[in-house]
Structure formats: C-alpha cells, structure tokens
Symmetry: C2
Subunit: 147 residues, 2 copies
C-alpha cells in the first residue's frame, strides 16, 4: 500500500480503538503498522517475524491478541489462501472481491459484483438455501508477472 493509504488506515484504526475503549498501545501500533503497510496478506507468524528488527518487538502473544481484536472490530478479515489460511488483510468497504497474483502475491481489489449477486439469487431460488455470506477469490498472474 502507498504511504498515504497506510497512514489513513492507521488513523482510522486508532480512532476505532479509542471509540471502543481499547487502549492504543505500543505493541498494537506495531502490529497495525505492519499490516497496514503490507501489500500482501500476512499470517500471525509473518507479522511477528517482521516485527523482530524493531527495538522492542511485541511478544508473540500480543500479535495474536491484536489480530483477534482487529478482527472482532471488523477492521481486518481472514483471507483464505489456496494451501493455507489465517492470513489477514484490512477490511474493505462494502463487499468486494480479491484477485491475488500467484507469483508475486500482490493483491488487488475488484469493484462491482452484479454478476455475483445474480448468481447468488439464482442459487437461493434453486436450492432453497438462505445465503448469508459468500466468499470469492480469483487467482492469476498480474500483468507484471505474466512476462
């Protein structure tokens, strides 16, 4: 993410913590900064290892606790990777879908999903299920990596 987007996210998150009476602590800030600055989804271990070159890195337990808190607040969401999940990425506005480059890992957000909504309505009609949630990810090669 760009430095601008990173900082915007961070201030949004800090405000959210204050509003919900969560303290904005050093370890939490460190974790949030790493997530907000990354351009790929990260696992708890990823985040922990990235933090280790800092003066006073957060304990591994705080990494897990911070991720749980951020997810509870709806600020991050799990991203399911083929072959392993428990990676996190900032929550997006509305419902958007993700396109992940299988080579460089870069993640891109897709806008607009009329087709998907139609599809879901059809599925509900046919099956009698009440679809409450869905989950679509596209994998492929970005223009840079397809060369």
């Amino acid at each position: 993410m760009s430095a601008l987007e990173t900082n915007l996210l961070l201030s949004t998150w800090k405000t959210a913590l204050h509003q919900q009476d969560y303290r904005v602590t050093q370890p939490r800030l460190q974790v949030m900064e790493i997530i907000a600055a990354s351009n790929t989804p990260l696992t708890p271990q990823d985040i922990y290892h990235r933090s280790l070159d800092q003066e006073t890195p957060p304990g591994i337990a705080s990494v897990y606790r911070t991720l749980e808190m951020l997810e509870d607040l709806g600020l991050i969401q799990q991203i399911h990777q083929p072959g392993g999940c428990h990676s996190y990425w900032p929550t997006l506005e509305g419902h958007q879908h993700l396109l992940i480059c299988t080579d460089c890992g870069h993640l891109r957000v897709i806008e607009g999903n009329e087709e998907i909504s139609e599809y879901i309505s059809k599925v509900e009609e046919i099956t009698g299920y009440q679809v409450t949630e869905h989950w679509l990810q596209l994998f492929g090669l970005c223009s840079g990596c397809s060369n």
Copy 2:
C-alpha cells in the same frame, strides 16, 4: 453422500492409485472410505477421530500421508472454511461451487456458473490479470436449518 456415490468414488480412487503405482493399503482405504462417506468436509483430525472406533485404526501419520497423496493425485481438494481451513472434500467434475450450511455443515454442490465466467472475463479485461483459478463458496442456512 449416498452409498452408491461413495462406492463409485472409492472404486475410481482405487483405480487411480493402481494406475499411478501407489499401493492400495488398509490405512489408505480406511481414510478414503471416511472421506467418501462423509457429507461434510473433514479435517485430518476429524478423519483420525472417526477412524478410532475401527478395529485397527490407521496411525495419525498415515492419515496425513494419505491426504497428501490424494491431493497430489487431484482426488481431493482443500475446502476453505470461514475461520479455519485444511478440510478436504472429494474433487468435483468440472468446476463447481459449494454451498455450505453454517448450522449443520452440510455441503451442497452448485451446477452452472455462466454468471461467474462472465464476471471473470470482465475482471480480466479491467485488470489485465490472467485469471487461472477461482474460488467461490457460499455460506448460509439450508431449508432444514432455517426453521
């Protein structure tokens, strides 16, 4: 799955093992039977625990080894559950999508995906990505559980 479908799957899988020079062993059979007979995705631990009421259950290591083999052969695939993955389900014909009941865990296969194909083509046009794979799951309540 119905007993008929289960047996069809099992004989297909056994044939595949023979053709690829994998031995059809007792532990492998036990794991394959459990997967083929289940109507929900199962984790390695699920499978192991289900096997424990048998006379001579497979070792936990063999469960993992069998799952790896079946996945390598393309006979099963990972299913990503919200809040945890590493569940397995038999590979389906063509590309189909899954609808999972969040209450009873029952899994249903959705046929037809014209809308999704259209969506993907549009995404490719817009982004310049080359989409090689996609991954859609629907979650909701089946008619039985929505009462």
